[in-house]
């Protein structure tokens, strides 16, 4: 068994240098990076593309059908507020889906937490921050309970959360009372969706987001580059920063425009719910992508046994994910309650959960675990909100509304599937 050293000089290095890792050395040009991206697309790694395409196509469609209303500042503001609760719910569910689990109770948990908030405000009369804390705590405790049943006792999450889905409907009904509603009169809570950040502060916030993003991205690039590791060319990095800047500035401009329908009223500014979503998006993205916890969530979702053998405390990770997801459900419940200024026994019931899971999946999160990102929830939530919003503008009758919503969802999903399938021609 002679161990021949390989005559590296024999072969051209760019293509098949046997020293390995040649794909890790980017050629540093923008063209190369774009080629790489196209290759990845062809390789079936579509990333956010289908959801973004869905958003673009749907926007174009509804704009052509309702040119005078769909893209007005007023409607865009409405759209974003409409998307907020479902997006927040989906942002928690992504984590559960990453584990390969499901949480059917997330919707009704958001209802329970909202009911707790509303009753504390209305009956007990506590200040808003106590009520919010209590609602979040309720969510966390529920998550702890669910997670323990799933991870420690080992009941399949589908069954646990199906049972809890039923039980929590009863709990909400109990808290609120049969046929009742609890109005929310607290101004701070209602401000979430009914008040707006002053225009000046809005612009400052927008600028801050852009600067922060640019600084972090550039710093990371610099460091990787210094160590000679895989990086994207500077051009691409700058292009991404520019893209983010354009989106943030554009949205801020739209939300800061006067959107009142009658001249007498003054209606402008970013609704407070938007920064809530953005901050949670950034925080959760960081947690999932840049910390050990996030890495372990991916590992548990990809291969539980491998994670266990690698010494990861799988039970703890799963419980924590359920806590996180239920807490996000609580946040979603708060925003939904603020939007309605009330909580009913049916809050969080109905199709809420299915829409949220649908949002995560359309955004690109796999139901089988191990693949997904927090931003999927935002993109998918937007797709669903746009369908809802656009159909509302068209004003179709109930049965058509159901059919069209279903049809559009199907269409969005099949574009994705077809693209992946074409790509899969090159995969096992």
């Amino acid at each position: 068994m002679a161990s021949n050293t390989v005559p590296t000089s024999d072969v051209e290095p760019g293509e098949s240098a046997p020293s390995g890792f040649e794909n890790d050395r980017s050629d540093g040009t923008v063209g190369g990076a774009v080629r790489g991206y196209l290759d990845r697309l062809r390789g079936g790694d579509l990333g956010a593309l289908p959801a973004v395409l869905g958003i673009v196509v749907l926007t174009a469609l509804f704009f052509s059908l309702r040119p005078e209303t769909f893209l007005t500042p007023l409607n865009i503001t409405n759209l974003l507020i409409q998307a907020a609760p479902i997006t927040l719910l989906a942002m928690g569910l992504v984590w559960v889906l990453l584990l390969g689990d499901i949480d059917l109770s997330a919707g009704v948990v958001s209802g329970v937490c909202a009911a707790v908030l509303a009753q504390l405000l209305a009956e007990v009369g506590v200040p808003w921050y106590i009520a919010v804390l209590a609602a979040l705590l309720t969510g966390a405790v529920i998550g702890l309970f669910t997670g323990t049943l799933v991870a420690m006792i080992g009941i399949p999450s589908f069954v646990v959360t199906l049972a809890l889905f039923l039980a929590f409907q009863g709990v909400t009904l109990r808290i609120i009372g049969q046929g009742g509603t609890v109005p929310i009169r607290d101004d701070v809570i209602r401000a979430l969706t009914n008040s707006y950040i002053p225009v000046g502060i809005g612009w400052v916030l927008a600028a801050a987001v852009i600067v922060l993003y640019a600084a972090l991205t550039l710093n990371r690039w610099r460091r990787q580059n210094a160590e000679g590791l895989t990086t994207q060319p500077l051009g691409i990095v700058l292009a991404r920063i520019a893209l983010i800047a354009v989106v943030v500035v554009g949205l801020t401009a739209i939300l800061n425009a006067d959107r009142a329908l009658s001249a007498a009223i003054d209606l402008q500014g970013i609704p407070y719910a938007i920064p809530v979503v953005v901050i949670l998006l950034l925080a959760l993205t960081f947690l999932l992508g840049r910390t050990t916890f996030g890495r372990h969530v991916y590992a548990v979702g990809g291969n539980k046994e491998a994670a266990r053998r690698a010494g990861i405390n799988v039970v703890r990770i799963r419980i924590m994910v359920f806590v996180l997801s239920s807490s996000m459900a609580a946040v979603s419940g708060l925003v939904a309650a603020a939007r309605l200024s009330s909580v009913t026994p049916g809050s969080g019931g109905g199709n809420t959960l299915l829409y949220a899971v649908g949002a995560a999946v359309i955004g690109g999160t796999s139901l089988f675990g191990g693949r997904g990102r927090v931003r999927d929830a935002v993109l998918g939530g937007l797709v669903i909100a746009i369908i809802d919003n656009g159909l509302g503008l068209l004003g179709v009758s109930a049965y058509l509304n159901y059919i069209i919503t279903g049809g559009v969802l199907l269409l969005a999903a099949s574009v994705d599937a077809l693209a992946r399938r074409r790509a899969a021609a090159g995969r096992s």
Binding site: R66, E68, T69, T72, L74, N75, N78, Q82, P85, L173, Q178, G179, G180, T181, V182, P183, I184, N194, A260, L261, S262, A263, A264, I265, L267, A336, R339, L340, S341, S342, V343, T344, P345, G346, S347, G349, G350, N351, T352, D388, N389, G392, L393, L394, G395, V396, S397, A398, Y399, N401, Y402
Partner: protein, 342 residues
């Protein structure tokens, strides 16, 4: 319900000359009336008056109703009529509409704590009272065990119905109330199981059933039929649906509460048009309703629900709410002839 055309200056300042009415119906399950009666009737009324309109259904979801309200306002509605799913969410919608300078009307259900200009309705508690009275009339003075099958536990109107019925029946000491259950989502299949179990538990010793609407009544009747008791035990209902009326014709159901949808729809259309034209005090206003929560009175058009028994089924047909053709099929033809319905 699609107006198709563009409305032009929807944000324009002079709503005097033109406007647009948005109507949001609540759901498709608490009663078939919303999609099958109110929508076509309202469409007809608005078309006749030549007003632009947009009618949508919130499908039982308050969040959805909020979204639709937003969309209608964006679309340039100047008058918004809603059938609230609950008081608080209804009030929120009305407040937002007011912010945007849009007038609102409460349709069928008064939004307590809301800010609606007008209220058009049948009194829901009165509906319950009629049901209670109807049941008492069918049962007479004999002692009887009665069971309640209420509407969905998360529907505030279901609470009004059952409150009204209790108001009438609770003082009547000859009756024993042996069971009471709410039917989640007004789901008839659930109602079937719930009543089947009530009936079994009572050993069949139930002499009267207060069912909140005709769909629930029909579920009750199926259980009774299986025990050869259909027709022996009076059952109440609501909505005067084809199914309910047929059950009444066949003597399986004792009464239903009829809320002439056409009257209600026409009243709404008239009020909306009045609002668009900036009319003060429309002549159709016939009373006012207390809103204890909002501490105000709302000018109202109050319509009377009607008790329908076998004797006055024909009234529903004459009003055009149900066609004789639909009603008098097969086995019911004979009864129709007998009662002179055509």
């Amino acid at each position: 319900g699609d107006d198709g055309g563009s409305t032009g200056g929807s944000g324009g300042g002079d709503a005097q000359a033109e406007g647009k009415v948005g109507v949001i119906l609540p759901d498709t399950e608490s009663s078939p009336r919303w999609e099958s009666f109110d929508r076509p009737l309202l469409e007809a009324a608005f078309e006749e008056a030549g007003v632009e309109y947009d009618i949508q259904n919130a499908q039982g979801d308050a969040q959805q109703m909020q979204t639709i309200a937003n969309q209608m306002i964006t679309n340039g509605a100047t008058v918004l009529a809603i059938v609230n799913l609950d008081n608080a969410s209804g009030a929120q919608i009305q407040d937002q509409a007011a912010q945007q300078g849009v007038a609102t009307i409460d349709y069928d259900r008064l939004t307590l704590g809301g800010s609606a200009e007008y209220y058009v309705s049948f009194d829901n508690t009165e509906v319950g009272r009629l049901q209670g009275q109807g049941l008492a009339d069918c049962l007479g003075d004999e002692p009887a065990n009665i069971a309640f099958l209420n509407g969905s536990p998360d529907d505030s109107n279901a609470t009004s119905f059952s409150n009204g019925a209790h108001e009438v029946l609770d003082p009547m000491t000859q009756y024993t109330q042996v069971a009471e259950q709410a039917v989640p989502g007004w789901e008839p299949t659930e109602a079937l199981t719930i009543f089947e179990q009530m009936y079994t538990q009572q050993g069949g010793d139930i002499q009267g059933v207060l069912a909140a609407n005709d769909t629930l009544a029909n579920a009750v009747i199926q259980v009774l039929a299986r025990n050869n008791q259909a027709g022996q035990v009076p059952v109440t209902g609501q909505d005067a649906s084809v199914e309910g009326l047929q059950n009444i014709l066949a003597n399986r159901q004792c009464m239903t509460v009829y809320k002439p949808a056409a009257e209600e729809a026409n009243a709404l259309a008239e009020l909306a048009i009045a609002l668009i034209n900036g009319e003060e005090d429309p002549s159709i206003i016939n009373g006012e309703s207390e809103d204890p929560e909002g501490d105000r009175t709302v000018p109202s058009v109050l319509l009377d629900p009607v008790t329908i028994t076998r004797d006055n089924v024909s009234q529903v047909v004459e009003d055009g709410q149900v066609s004789a053709e639909d009603l008098c099929t097969g086995e019911y033809a004979a009864a129709c002839t007998e009662l002179g319905i055509q």
